[in-house]
């Protein structure tokens, strides 16, 4: 088995690296990177648009192209998070906690360089774990049922306690608000409508994208305008910015242990579980970075470790996220759903046959993704200077552009004008929260995880009532449950220890 995996991996690498095959993943990557900056065109939209165009192609070029498309969009969302406090994708929300303060301090180059290096390194770890997991893919996925998903999401929610040091009560209230918002719409178990006020718009709940666009991008620009600050970085010339991309890239190696642990959290803990997604990976890694650091006070104020952890976890997750798609045809995101559809239209059916009879093709996807992640990071590094210049843009130029992009992005999310209105409403809420020092991240994390927690709690409790669940025989549940308890109790333990230390001194 191992020999066959190694042979297939080599064959896959040969196919990707040969001419003209390599053109496809490179093109896919550059296309995905280009559209990542356009509001309303997500990686999934681009991949969907490519389906009719590639219908007459042979399967191999399609696989190569889609590998590039999947990998290309990941890193770019982090750039907008760092530069404008606008998370281009959900997982980038964790990057902005420390990335944006770095940009405000004029250290955007360092933050982007660090994100690019962590992203490329993280994806490499992810791919290596994926290759190691190939023989065990099916068992790994089957180990995660609703109870395991439940504890994992609760673990993700506990990171709120970590990211909101100093404002725990406010963070809990914001989290409660996020959970309340998450419960709007269909009850996932009974399909009954809740809090919809007879509006069809609310049937599917409040979308994460308009909320994030409002809470961060609109609120941020409003705050900048009101505060009288001329530019994001407070500087108007590029040579006034400090730091360098090299300094950022070097920081990843200086904190190699954190990078490696975060990458493993992204791949092995979160990536392989369908439906959990990169956002949980990023926040878990961020929480881990804070909890395992001795000097925690700098987090949230531009600590580079707060960029390394989420970025490496987020990109490492991509490799793991292919596991459920390839082994069982379970897409964990809209992007992987479209990838699967494209593969199936070319006769490549995910499942046992693909994992045995067409293993080289599996590796073609894996290596294309790997190549794509590295190209994205290298291009990101090359673009550090022009991108950093954006933090020196004056407000009268920046504000209308950001407002327009936020409105278009919110509308394009589901083609609903109501989403644009929701974005601006949350822009107002976000501005007030920022002004009065209420943390916004807990609201977003709770909105993101609330639905999944509720659903998996229902299914878990129903399976338990029906006698189909014995948690004592589910080791994965036990391990993640223990990690969650540890994560929750650690801050208290550290607080008690610090208290005793203060009394002794």
């Amino acid at each position: 088995m191992i020999e066959s995996v190694v042979q297939s991996a080599w064959e896959g690498l040969r196919l990707v690296a040969s001419w003209p095959n390599i053109v496809y993943p490179v093109t896919g990557t550059l296309m995905a990177m280009a559209v990542a900056f356009l509001p309303g065109i997500s990686d999934a939209t681009l991949m969907t648009l490519m389906i009719p165009l590639t219908l007459s192609w042979d399967p191999l070029p399609v696989v190569l192209l889609y590998g590039g498309l999947v990998g290309g969009a990941t890193f770019m969302g982090s750039i907008t998070a760092i530069l404008f406090n606008v998370p281009g994708t959900g997982p980038s929300a964790a990057t902005l906690i420390d990335g944006y303060p770095m940009a405000q301090q004029g250290r955007a180059k360092t933050a982007i360089g660090c994100a690019a290096m962590a992203s490329a390194g993280g994806s490499t770890v992810g791919i290596l774990v994926l290759i190691a997991l190939v023989p065990l893919m099916r068992q790994a996925i089957l180990a995660f049922g609703p109870p395991e998903l439940l504890v994992l999401m609760v673990w993700g929610l506990t990171t709120i306690a970590v990211v909101s040091r100093g404002a725990v009560i406010r963070a809990l209230i914001a989290m409660g608000l996020g959970l309340l918002l998450a419960f709007v719409g269909h009850d996932p178990r009974t399909a009954e409508l809740r809090f919809t006020f007879n509006t069809m718009y609310l049937w599917d709940g409040i979308g994460l994208v308009p909320v994030v666009l409002g809470l961060f991008s609109i609120a941020e620009v409003t705050d900048l305008g009101v505060s009288g600050r001329h530019t994001i970085s407070g500087r108007t010339r590029l040579d006034e910015l400090t730091g360098s991309a090299l300094e950022g890239a070097r920081a990843v190696f200086q904190h190699f242990g954190l990078f490696l642990r975060s990458s493993l959290i992204g791949t092995a803990v979160v990536g392989i579980i369908p439906g959990v997604g990169g956002t949980v990976a990023s926040f878990l890694a961020y929480g881990h970075a804070v909890q395992t650091s001795r000097d925690r006070d700098s987090f949230g104020h531009g600590d580079i470790r707060g960029v390394i952890a989420p970025e490496s976890a987020h990109d490492a997750k991509d490799g793991g996220a292919l596991v459920p798609v390839l082994a069982f045809g379970i897409p964990g995101s809209e992007g992987t759903a479209v990838l699967m559809a494209a593969l199936m239209l070319h006769g490549i059916v995910p499942g046992r046959a693909l994992m045995t009879e067409q293993l080289p093709l599996v590796f073609v996807i894996i290596w294309s993704l790997f190549l794509s992640n590295w190209i994205t990071s290298i291009v990101g590094l090359l673009l550090v200077s022009p991108l950093s210049r954006l933090t020196t843009l004056r407000m009268h130029v920046l504000a209308p552009v950001v407002f327009a992009l936020a409105a278009v992005g919110a509308f394009a999310y589901r083609q609903r004008i109501e989403d644009a209105l929701v974005a601006f409403a949350f822009g107002g809420i976000g501005y007030l929260m920022k002004k009065h020092r209420w943390p916004r991240i807990p609201l977003v994390v709770a909105l993101l995880l609330g639905g999944g927690i509720e659903l998996n709690l229902h299914i878990t409790s129903q399976l338990h009532e029906l006698g189909r669940l014995n948690i004592w025989t589910r080791p994965v549940f036990m391990v993640i449950g223990l990690l969650t308890l540890t994560s929750l109790s650690l801050p208290f333990a550290q607080e008690i220890r610090a208290h005793h230390a203060r009394r002794r001194s």
Partner: protein
């Protein structure tokens, strides 16, 4: 006085306009004159009532280049997901009937929504101009590979002792209707564990042994059946769903020798009532996924679109490109099936309402 730069810019713009006009003219000439002139060279908005990557979306993208060539029009697929497909279906029903808005709807879902009193759902019979049927979804009951329930006999035997546990996606969905009505016909109790995010997560629950069974369109779980992860135990249809080897010997629910007829006595229903309920279920499930336009379409445009669709769907290349087998019907036949399903559906109502009430309380 014009500078060279202005001249070049003007020339460039002229070439671009001529190129666009040329493409449009070529498209228009491909479609020819007549009723199709109304859409030739124009952009047709094709509404997919689900998110990108789903079955309807994949089918739409597959069809797009073939239909574009036949109509000489550009097709812009738009995903309008939400409310279990109702928002997208309404977007089609409420669009202007000019032939420039088409889309796919799942008729079983709309018929069931009408039965269960979802006021916002469009009227399945009157709200659309039905242009063609793409395919139909026939369900199978399947157990996990390691389950003790290997045959319908095992299942009925176990069903005498306890309720059979199913994983379902959504309350009120077509697969839930299929489970509850079939269980009613077989005279067994079922417990529904609802909320799984699609066919695959529910199938994994069966594979893990968290639940006993799943009930899905055979084509959507065919690879799991072929990989020996799931084992079909019952075909929820009146005739064999497919000639697939995995379905050989798997009993049918309907038909004169079907399980419903054999179990008629046990369910406490007369044979005629049993047949009526089974027929209602098959009629609703067989109404299929349809290509529709808003009602009130000009007869000429309707003829053009329905003919173009039928010819496209009959094309061998299209059949080969489809990810799941097509089961095509022309506009008239598809509409007749919808009307028949709507007329036959009422006996399902009490069973569905009762099942939903039990899940909710």
């Amino acid at each position: 006085m014009l500078s060279r730069r202005h001249l070049l810019a003007g020339l460039g713009a002229g070439v671009a306009i001529a190129a666009v006009a040329g493409v449009r003219l070529r498209r228009a000439s491909t479609a020819g004159a007549g009723p199709c002139a109304a859409v030739a060279g124009r952009t047709i908005r094709w509404i997919v009532p689900n998110a990108a990557g789903g079955g309807y979306d994949t089918e739409s993208r597959m069809l797009q280049p073939f239909l574009e060539r036949r109509l000489g029009a550009e097709i812009a697929a738009a995903n309008v997901p939400g409310a279990g497909g109702i928002i997208g279906a309404r977007a089609i029903a409420e669009a202007r009937p000019d032939g420039l808005t088409l889309g796919i709807v799942g008729m079983p879902g709309l018929l069931l929504a009408a039965l269960t009193g979802t006021a916002e759902a469009p009227d399945p019979v009157r709200a659309f101009s039905v242009l063609a049927r793409l395919g139909r979804s026939w369900h199978v009951w399947a157990s996990g590979a390691s389950s003790r329930l290997k045959t319908i006999g095992d299942l009925l035997e176990e069903g005498r002792r306890r309720a059979l546990i199913f994983a379902v996606n959504e309350v009120g969905s077509a697969n839930m209707a299929s489970i509850t009505v079939t269980a009613d016909l077989l005279g067994v109790d079922v417990e529904l564990v609802a909320g799984f995010a699609g066919t695959r997560p529910a199938s994994m629950a069966a594979l893990r042994g968290d639940v006993d069974l799943v009930c899905f369109d055979f084509e959507t779980i065919r690879d799991l059946v072929e990989g020996s992860d799931l084992r079909p135990v019952l075909q929820v249809s009146a005739s064999p769903i497919s000639r697939h080897v995995a379905l050989e010997g798997v009993p049918l629910l309907g038909g004169p020798d079907g399980m419903a007829a054999r179990r008629a006595g046990l369910s406490g229903r007369s044979e005629a009532d049993t047949q009526e309920l089974a027929a209602a279920l098959f009629a609703v499930m067989g109404s299929g996924r349809l290509v529709v336009a808003p009602p009130g379409l000009d007869p000429g445009v309707f003829r053009c679109l329905s003919l173009a669709l039928h010819e496209t769907l009959a094309c061998r290349d299209v059949q080969a490109a489809a990810a799941r087998p097509l089961d095509v019907a022309a506009a008239e036949a598809a509409l007749a099936d919808v009307r028949a399903a709507s007329a036959a559906a009422p006996p399902l109502q009490p069973v569905l309402i009762d099942a939903m009430r039990r899940v909710r309380h």
